[in-house]
């Protein structure tokens, strides 16, 4: 009896709720549901699958870490970062105090200011990686967009350069790296280097691998400007510079941005590989060091890094998408 009533009232409540959602935001709610609930379900299913499958995979470093271990190690990595920061702060204040003391005793004394010698933490490595990838990506953009415009405007030049693009485009970062390393060490000689050599090596490798999509898309976009608009430009007798800035470039912005997004994705992928191989600081090095370390937690820590890499890549793409929506006129 009571169960029956319960079911009844539940049905009524459900019906009421449905009517409510229908009346207000039937479509909207369905949208949000699709946008939020389904991805959540996907992630949960993946976590469950991972949790069940991980213990079955045995490695020399123990069984493959499940979500729980990875979560724990992520917290651990964060804690290490906090601790390191505290130590660094302490180091700096102590150094300052010591220097002040020395100067008070002898105003002419030379004081040394050293930076904290501790190893970079996971978070530090992320920051380094982000700086490197942005530098490489910006350099690639600075090369690819102007070059793409020139190629798109000049059919003959395009025909001449196109085979080179096609050949260099598929080259893996791992193939470039030794060459870049050698060239950087040979040419970047300075007593007071502004950048680390390893930074330059990874950055240039990133540039070399990521500039192609932007270059190709810019060329295509520039060559595909609506001929009517080109005629308008000719009738108005726009100067070359105005023509490029007011007609060609805005017209190709949407397709250039598509190229930029692909480029940034490639840049991020390439960076990790480059850092691993070049031993330059960053997430790639973190992964490699953990791999060499081979402790029982290494796999969990690497897995945490893998997730971080994926998540950052996703965020970078989202940021580009937002920029595109802001700048491109067809969005």
């Amino acid at each position: 009896m009571s169960t029956l009533m319960n079911t009844n009232s539940r049905i009524r409540r459900f019906g009421g709720l449905k009517a409510l959602t229908d009346r207000f935001t039937g479509v909207e709610l369905a949208q949000t549901g699709k946008q939020l609930v389904l991805p959540m379900v996907g992630i949960l299913v993946f976590l469950g699958f991972w949790h069940l499958a991980a213990p079955q995979v045995n490695t020399s470093l123990g069984s493959f870490p499940g979500p729980a271990q990875v979560w724990e190690q992520s917290g651990q990595l964060w804690q290490e970062h906090i601790n390191q920061r505290e130590r660094a702060d302490k180091f700096v204040t102590m150094q300052k105090e010591r220097n002040a003391r020395i100067l008070a005793e002898n105003p002419d004394a030379e004081v040394k200011i050293r930076s904290y010698p501790g190893a970079p933490t996971f978070v530090d490595q992320i920051v380094t990686s982000l700086i490197t990838v942005m530098a490489g990506f910006l350099l690639a953009t600075a090369i690819a967009v102007p070059l793409g415009i020139v190629l798109g405007l000049n059919r003959h030049l395009q025909a001449a350069i196109n085979p080179l693009i096609q050949i260099f485009k598929p080259v893996s970062p791992l193939a470039w790296l030794p060459l870049v390393t050698m060239v950087v060490s040979a040419t970047y000689v300075s007593d007071d280097p502004m950048f680390e050599k390893s930074f330059l090596t990874s950055m240039i490798t990133v540039t070399l691998c990521s500039l192609w999509p932007t270059l190709i898309n810019t060329g295509v976009g520039v060559a595909a400007v609506n001929p009517d608009l080109l005629n308008v430009s000719r009738v108005l007798r726009l100067s070359f510079w105005t023509h490029v800035m007011k007609v060609v470039l805005p017209s190709s912005v949407p397709i250039i941005f598509t190229g930029l997004r692909v480029s940034l994705g490639i840049a991020w992928m390439v960076l990790i590989a480059a850092e691993m191989l070049a031993q330059s600081p960053g997430l790639g090095k973190f992964v490699w060091d953990e791999f060499q370390n081979g402790s029982s937690q290494s796999l969990s820590r690497i897995m945490a890094a893998v997730l971080a890499i994926g998540f950052i890549g996703f965020v970078l793409d989202r940021v580009m998408l937002m920029l595109q929506k802001k700048i491109a006129w067809n969005e």
Partner: protein
């Protein structure tokens, strides 16, 4: 009579194609007076756009030449403003900015910033588009965009206004409306206008003169019909005016009897353009 305003002499145009050179125009001769409204009519592919583009300077005639006010035309310029078939507005600029781009370029030196701004607004008002000044071309209708295209061209203060099927892509009502506006504007400004059209009624209603072109290849001027109807013209009262009907018939006769297209003689099923042409009074447009 003094020297003509715009003169085409012995214009020949041949295009290099993979199959050898293709002669599109052969010996076109035209003299156009200042303030004259001239329509070019002819079957699709006969070379109307080519003539217009040569006058615009977008194409260079292979033989002969084109002289405007005593100067030979060999490059495009804002004194020969073009209204394109598909408005050709920059989609990333607002209506105002599209006109501004032209005004900036043409009157950079001769107008102050304030003057340019009111000149832009004046031209937008001329075509009744001031209310949409801050909209993008994607946010307005085709007819509105076409009006902005006309405003942009008028804002250059051209001595010749060139229009390539300006109303071709529009529905009949919008088209009629724009035709009326164009007649008013032309009455006020007294620009020289060369307009390509496929629409016989449009040609007779708007023009002082209709140039009928023979079929290509090697197209030439077939007939040159002066339309001696008083202005302002009213489409409704003209509809059964005997002179109007006569002019209309002249053009139809030229298009469908004298210059009847070979391909439209062979009857084809499922081809709307064959057979129904006479009722529709439009030249079949083969190309989109």
């Amino acid at each position: 009579m003094s020297k003509p305003h715009l003169e085409l002499t012995g214009v020949e145009m041949s295009f290099d194609t993979p199959k050898g050179s293709f002669i599109a125009l052969d010996n076109i001769n035209l003299k156009i007076k200042k303030g004259e409204f001239v329509s070019l009519i002819g079957h699709s592919g006969c070379g109307k756009s080519t003539v217009l583009n040569i006058v615009a300077g977008l194409l260079q005639a292979t033989k002969g030449g084109c002289i405007l006010d005593g100067h030979e035309i060999n490059s495009p310029g804002p004194e020969r403003a073009v209204v394109f078939q598909n408005h050709a507005l920059m989609p990333w600029l607002t209506v105002y900015e599209n006109v501004e781009l032209a005004v900036q370029q043409v009157f950079r030196k001769s107008m102050t910033k304030q003057e340019r701004r009111s000149w832009i607004h004046h031209n937008l008002e001329l075509v009744n588009m001031a209310h949409a000044a801050n909209k993008r071309p994607g946010e307005i209708s085709g007819g509105m965009a076409q009006r902005v295209g006309i405003a942009r061209a008028l804002a250059m203060k051209p001595s010749v206004l060139l229009m390539d099927e300006p109303f071709g892509a529009l529905d009949a009502l919008t088209r009629a409306h724009l035709q009326d506006s164009l007649m008013e504007i032309q009455q006020d400004l007294n620009n020289t206008v060369i307009m390509i059209t496929h629409d016989v009624d449009e040609a007779v209603l708007l023009s002082d003169r209709i140039i009928m072109m023979t079929n290509g290849p090697a197209a030439a001027v077939g007939e040159d019909l002066y339309i001696d109807l008083e202005r302002p013209r009213n489409r409704v009262t003209l509809a059964d005016d005997p002179t109007y009907v006569h002019y209309r018939q002249e053009v139809l006769k030229f298009l469908y009897e004298k210059q009847r297209k070979l391909e439209s003689i062979t009857p084809r099923r499922n081809n709307q353009t064959t057979g129904t042409n006479m009722q529709k009074d439009t030249v079949p447009a083969a190309k989109a």
